[in-house]
């Protein structure tokens, strides 16, 4: 195991970067080099573009990238969830076809799970996939699909057997989003952005080899994707930031952020922008108001506690020790922090918090925080679902009696759509 010590990983990564990094590469060209070297996704298996590095050592590699200013592989958005799911459940053909273009950033992905009739209850999906001739024909409607309008590929959860019980009748597919049977309609959000969509599937087709795992195993695969989504919730905040340095690869990364990453540009605001609290407190003079100071302090206590709790979880992981409950709380904590931050920003800005656009507090950023934060406690699993998960999986509390999982799904009552 000696090749895996922190110092050796650092030295090896640094030497490789020093020998290979050049900001005048094209973005895809540079990422291809990263993929071939294994430094782009070092915690991935050696067989698939990685180095089998423990996840605990990934920050060491990231530090080396930052030190030299090197651009990494494409890490933003649903493509990360797609990669994790394909690595866990995909065939060699899936890995061959998709992983490389995920890392280069050439392909964009979306997640087709939620439906108008199944939000928190994702396993209640009624989009149907039927084998007709030699391919799957898909009909139904998906919703809250971030980046569907940009995506080349979708992770699709569909019902393939109505006579089986709820969780047993589902299958998981990779669907080509650029086909006539797929219609994407943006949904305008309360903050004015339109990063998610409705997706209408009308006799859309999926080739049989794009089924992931077996027919009827869709729920297990979905659980993998969702687990990675919850775990990654925190990371989304910092993704949409490019470097200001000169160089072709930076230019192309900035262009990527402007286009592919556009749906995520308000994500820092939805997390509440705690980083702006102290600067705004000084700027507005609220720092001297004893009532506001208490609220600022409450928020900072919570946000520091959240940060230190995440560090506890990460340290346990790095040391290969069993993680305590602290590892399952991040998403719920971030909702509390975001809401408290929006409250304090309002308190500090007063009537000015209403103003948007140029000349308003921070050119509209403050107002955008206030109308973006409500997404935090809903997206990727509501706070209520998070609490259920914590209660059942961490605390081991008994499940609610179920009324829908012990009979053929066709007999389960559901919203009547259309």
């Amino acid at each position: 195991m000696s090749e895996n010590t922190e110092a050796q990983v650092r030295a090896e990564c640094r030497a490789w970067l020093e020998a290979n990094w050049n900001p005048e590469y094209g973005l895809v060209e540079w990422r291809t080099k990263l993929i071939e070297s294994g430094w782009g996704a070092p915690h991935w298996p050696k067989a698939w573009y990685g180095r089998d590095l423990s996840t605990g050592l990934v920050p060491v590699v990231e530090e080396e990238f930052q030190r030299i200013g090197a651009v990494g592989v494409a890490k933003a958005g649903i493509r990360v969830l797609a990669a994790a799911t394909i690595l866990a459940h995909g065939t060699d053909m899936h890995k061959e076809k998709f992983l490389r273009r995920i890392l280069t950033g050439e392909d964009t992905w979306c997640q087709l799970f939620s439906e108008p009739g199944s939000g928190s209850d994702v396993a209640g999906a009624v989009t149907r996939a039927e084998m007709k001739g030699n391919q799957w024909i898909v009909n139904g409607q998906k919703v809250w699909t971030t980046s569907a309008h940009k995506a080349h590929w979708g992770l699709l959860l569909a019902r393939t057997d109505w006579d089986k019980r709820k969780h047993k009748g589902l299958s998981y597919f990779i669907i080509d989003m650029k086909q006539p049977g797929v219609t994407v309609q943006p949904l305008r959000q309360m903050n004015g952005h339109a990063s998610f969509n409705q997706v209408f599937l009308t006799d859309a087709t999926v080739q049989p080899e794009f089924l992931v795992a077996e027919v009827g195993d869709g729920w297990a695969v979905t659980t993998t994707t969702l687990m990675h989504e919850r775990r990654g919730a925190d990371a989304l905040r910092s993704w949409a930031r490019g470097s200001t340095r000169p160089g072709k690869v930076y230019d192309e990364e900035r262009a990527e952020i402007e286009t592919t990453m556009e749906p995520y540009k308000w994500y820092p605001q939805r997390a509440g922008r705690v980083d702006l609290i102290m600067p705004r407190a000084r700027e507005t003079g609220s720092i001297d108001d004893p009532v506001v100071r208490q609220e600022i302090a409450k928020l900072l206590c919570m946000s520091k506690a959240a940060e230190w709790t995440a560090r506890r979880a990460r340290t346990a992981q790095e040391q290969g020790r069993p993680q305590g409950p602290e590892g399952s709380l991040g998403k719920l904590i971030s909702s509390h922090v975001a809401r408290a931050s929006a409250r304090v920003h309002t308190q500090m800005s007063g009537a000015n918090a209403l103003l948007t656009g140029a000349g308003s507090p921070m050119d509209g950023v403050i107002a955008e925080i206030l109308v973006s934060v409500p997404a935090t406690s809903i997206a990727g699993g509501t706070d209520e679902i998070q609490r259920n998960i914590i209660a059942e999986r961490v605390l081991g509390l008994p499940k609610e009696p179920s009324v829908d999982s012990d009979k053929p799904y066709r007999d389960v009552p559901r919203n009547i759509v259309g």
Binding site: M278, I287, P290, R293, Q294, I296, A297, K298, L300, C301, M302, K304, A305, A306, W308, T309, R311, R312, R314, T315, A316, Q319, R321, G324, P325, E326, L329, L332, I333, E384, Q386, R387, N388, I390, A391, E392, V394, L395, L397, P398, K399, E400, P401
Partner: protein
């Protein structure tokens, strides 16, 4: 060490928890809380003979084990979990802390080995009837007389003050004000002119006393007029140690409430299967884990000598105060009617949560102190 414990520390905790489960069950807590002293000298001796707990953070040159706040706070967290009745906090955190922070080497040599051995029960008397925790509010006076000093005035909210063998007293020079003129003194528990009476408080698991000083002869500890800084340092340490005790108690309440909810059947099902209960228990877990993270962080910050250790201390006390009390409120609620009875153990921790909440300053005070630190 801010984010994890070593395997030695984990083992220490495991042994300690086993010991306290055995020696300080709630039956024993209930026995001791009904006594005037509030603790038992035989049990105290056994604890120190078997585990050497009073020696944990006292340096080796003064007869201790020389561990840091990391280890001391493990002891306190586990004692908080057990709601233990013992003069441990007063002796090792408050008195030993003040002696270490203010005393001369000769004074440390004279006073600390007895504390490390568990022979000397000691405390710190700083607050007075006004219930304020800052040194500047001190009114008790120390007047030079002969080779020593004479103390006149009173102290209150002195933890284990009625049973301590040795009392470290914060006093001021006559005519001085604010942080200047403050000095520490040591007084024997049976000194002439010292009257001690146990306070009637709502938390019987942590006894406090009011002390009156009527011309009590005292020995200067450390530098005359120089106590403000070592006192502030001692309070910072006390706040971190108390916060660790608090998260131990909060964790115990949370675990007991969870177990009770799982066991309790109403409407034909365990009440823990109802979402209203699940969500409450999930929130309690979240709050307790957040408070734990800050308590561990603040203890390590003291050991690491972090420049903003005082801010971390206030941060953790603010969070621990709110969290312990809120957890206790939920715990009573989850237990329902039985949770409001004397026979159920929940009230032991509820009361400890309340006394801890206000001791050394409540959440509001510490939020303000934290902001002063950070805004500076």
């Amino acid at each position: 060490m801010k984010f994890s414990f070593s395997s030695e520390q984990d083992e220490f905790r495991t042994n300690l928890r086993r010991f306290l489960t055995d020696r300080s069950p709630t039956k024993e807590v209930r026995r001791l809380m009904e006594t005037d002293a509030g603790w038992d000298r035989d049990a105290w001796r056994a604890m120190n003979q078997e585990l050497g707990l009073t020696a944990v953070r006292i340096p080796e040159e003064y007869g201790g084990h020389g561990f840091g706040f990391g280890e001391l706070c493990i002891v306190l967290e586990e004692m908080g979990r057990a709601c233990m009745c013992a003069p441990y906090f007063a002796t090792t955190v408050l008195a030993a802390g003040a002696i270490l922070n203010a005393g001369t080497d000769a004074q440390k040599q004279a006073l600390l080995p007895g504390i490390a051995a568990g022979d000397t029960i000691a405390t710190l008397a700083s607050a007075e009837d006004n219930g304020r925790w800052d040194g500047a509010s001190t009114t008790l006076t120390a007047t030079p007389s002969g080779s020593g000093y004479t103390l006149n005035g009173h102290k209150s909210f002195v933890i284990d003050g009625h049973t301590a063998d040795l009392i470290v007293v914060l006093a001021r020079a006559p005519g001085s004000s604010g942080d200047s003129g403050l000095s520490f003194f040591t007084v024997s528990g049976d000194a002439a002119g010292l009257t001690r009476s146990v306070l009637n408080t709502m938390d019987p698991t942590r006894k406090m006393a009011r002390l009156t000083f009527d011309g009590v002869e005292a020995t200067l500890l450390g530098e005359a007029g120089g106590a403000a800084e070592p006192f502030a340092r001692t309070m910072t340490e006390a706040v971190v140690c108390l916060s660790n005790e608090m998260v131990g108690g909060a964790a115990r309440l949370r675990e007991d409430s969870t177990a009770y909810a799982v066991m309790r059947v109403q409407f034909g099902r365990s009440i823990a299967s109802f979402q209203s209960m699940k969500h409450k228990l999930a929130d309690m877990l979240l709050e307790v884990e957040l408070a734990k993270s800050t308590a561990y962080f603040a203890a390590a910050a003291l050991d690491d000598g972090d420049a903003d250790a005082a801010a971390s201390a206030s941060l953790t006390k603010a969070l621990a105060s709110d969290t312990y009390m809120q957890t206790a409120v939920h715990a009573v609620q989850i237990h329902g009617g039985i949770g409001f009875t004397w026979d159920n153990d929940t009230h032991l921790w509820f009361k400890r949560a309340k006394s801890s909440e206000v001791l050394f300053g409540d959440a509001h005070l510490h939020r303000e102190l934290m902001m002063r630190n950070w805004a500076a």
